[in-house]
Point group: C2
């Protein structure tokens, strides 16, 4: 900011700078989004470490995501990263974020910086943890980072990107141009959570922390529904849980447990066109007796 003329010792006497960083998850990257590459060998190693078999099918590819997302891309989580242009860690990928202005809440800063990187508003936002180690950014002013994690739903990423602050309704003809503009920023890309590049600061630790939180929160809360649209099949909901948990889930038992929660409403409609028995479409209904937990 304005402390460029200060010496290191002068900066150390200042109060620490406070910044927000956000780990934003989605089932798959938005259409026309730039996909990050992290190297094939690193990809295979990471996939093996997480326990995915053959998950590195398109590792290293920088191509566009097909409009109709394949089933293969479903069983992993994606998150947006921003390439740093300044020291420290210049050139490395980092979580979206930035310093908090004096008149913005922490959550507001998280949403604003996320919107600037992803051009879309997240569907869910929750504070994760605060990191304030003394040696976080050596030689510079001390930095305290408050980490958030966020979640994008299918409907958030399927459509057009935001241009202005309040721009939301763009007609079909402009989508390709928006997509092109979105893709033109080389410093923002989406990565599979299984194949992340080396991250700046301790952002790798933050991502791991966010993944833990997402996994445990999926077990007892209703966050998983936010990955999906208004209506969905039980198979889609199960695929979300499989992507988050990283393992296959028995369809029969999952159905029984999902329906027992009481959050699902049968819309009476069905899917069609698939080459098998059609599936019922459900809606998510918030339950009246909502209990929250507080664990870590």
């Amino acid at each position: 900011m304005a402390y460029t003329s200060m010496s290191v010792s002068e900066r150390q006497l200042l109060p620490p700078a406070v910044a927000v960083s956000t780990v934003a998850f989605a089932l798959h990257p938005p259409a026309h989004a730039r996909l990050g590459e992290s190297g094939v060998e690193a990809a295979y190693a990471a996939a093996a470490a997480v326990g995915f078999a053959g998950a590195a099918s398109d590792a290293g590819a920088a191509a566009e995501v097909p409009a109709e997302t394949s089933a293969r891309a479903r069983d992993t989580l994606w998150l947006p990263l921003v390439r740093r242009t300044r020291a420290p860690f210049a050139g490395d990928w980092a979580l979206p974020g930035g310093p908090i202005p004096f008149n913005e809440t922490l959550a507001d800063t998280a949403v604003r910086t996320l919107r600037a990187a992803v051009l879309r508003d997240p569907r869910y936002l929750e504070q994760l943890y605060s990191f304030g180690a003394v040696e976080r950014s050596a030689q510079a002013q001390r930095l305290v980072t408050i980490a958030y994690w966020a979640l994008y739903g299918e409907q958030d990423l399927a459509g057009d990107a935001l241009t202005g602050a309040a721009e939301q309704n763009i007609d079909e003809q402009n989508i390709d141009e928006q997509g092109a503009a979105e893709q033109d920023d080389p410093n923002v890309a989406w990565f599979s959570a299984d194949r992340l590049p080396p991250l700046a600061f301790d952002h790798a630790e933050i991502v791991a922390h966010a993944l833990d939180r997402l996994r445990s929160k999926t077990e007892y809360s209703t966050v998983a529904y936010r990955f999906l649209g208004d209506t969905f099949t039980l198979a889609q909901l199960r695929e979300v849980h499989e992507a988050v948990r990283g393992e296959a889930v028995d369809p029969a038992n999952f159905r029984r447990q999902a329906l027992a929660q009481g959050h699902l409403v049968d819309t009476g409609e069905q899917t069609s066109g698939a080459k098998h028995r059609p599936a019922r479409l459900y809606q998510f209904r918030e339950q009246t007796t909502q209990q929250t937990r507080n664990l870590t």
Copy 2:
């Protein structure tokens, strides 16, 4: 700090100040500690709200705690508060804490400020949440508070208080003097978690948050053992859970579940002197397969 000559608008342009506040729980206050009073009527109301029957037996009393803690004092949690001497909220009770120096980690600051108030080191410390609302302290420089929660065990509070930084071994003759000195600070007192006075800032919210975290964490982690000494009976361990959960627990079922965790080692020794069958003394043993959770 050094910004006393600045105007309000000048302070708003500064990076926010970062402070740490800690909620420290104990089964009962230390010997010779000053006990806070919060008014009898408020005490009865609070006890009823939490669901304790007849828990307000010594509400409003400012007497010393008896050396042999009564069973009655066991079924509630206690926490230390510090009275503010400066604006804002001058005269109100607040959580121990303070700003973070440039060369101290967040956890170090929490421990140091806690030691300054309680004169003892906590047995457990965990980050809770960060509060950074814009209007937290109006008219002043913006304040971001990183809340921690801590836990004192019986052996931490039973003995003598610390005087210097590394002072730990004080012989018996000095205990009374230490206790008197400890009691002489009128701006530090211990309160029952059920009968708290009005707190400064949003510290009441932070305490509620910490209680939630403590309750859920006792369900699946091993924090509860830290309230107790090296050896303890299953009845003592059950009383900890009852104090945290605020309700009675079936002794038979609790025994079965506690032993099934595999954390308890039978020392072969027994209690004696009570007017009933003696109880076995157990030790806590850290398990090799230690799993952590990450929920909120």
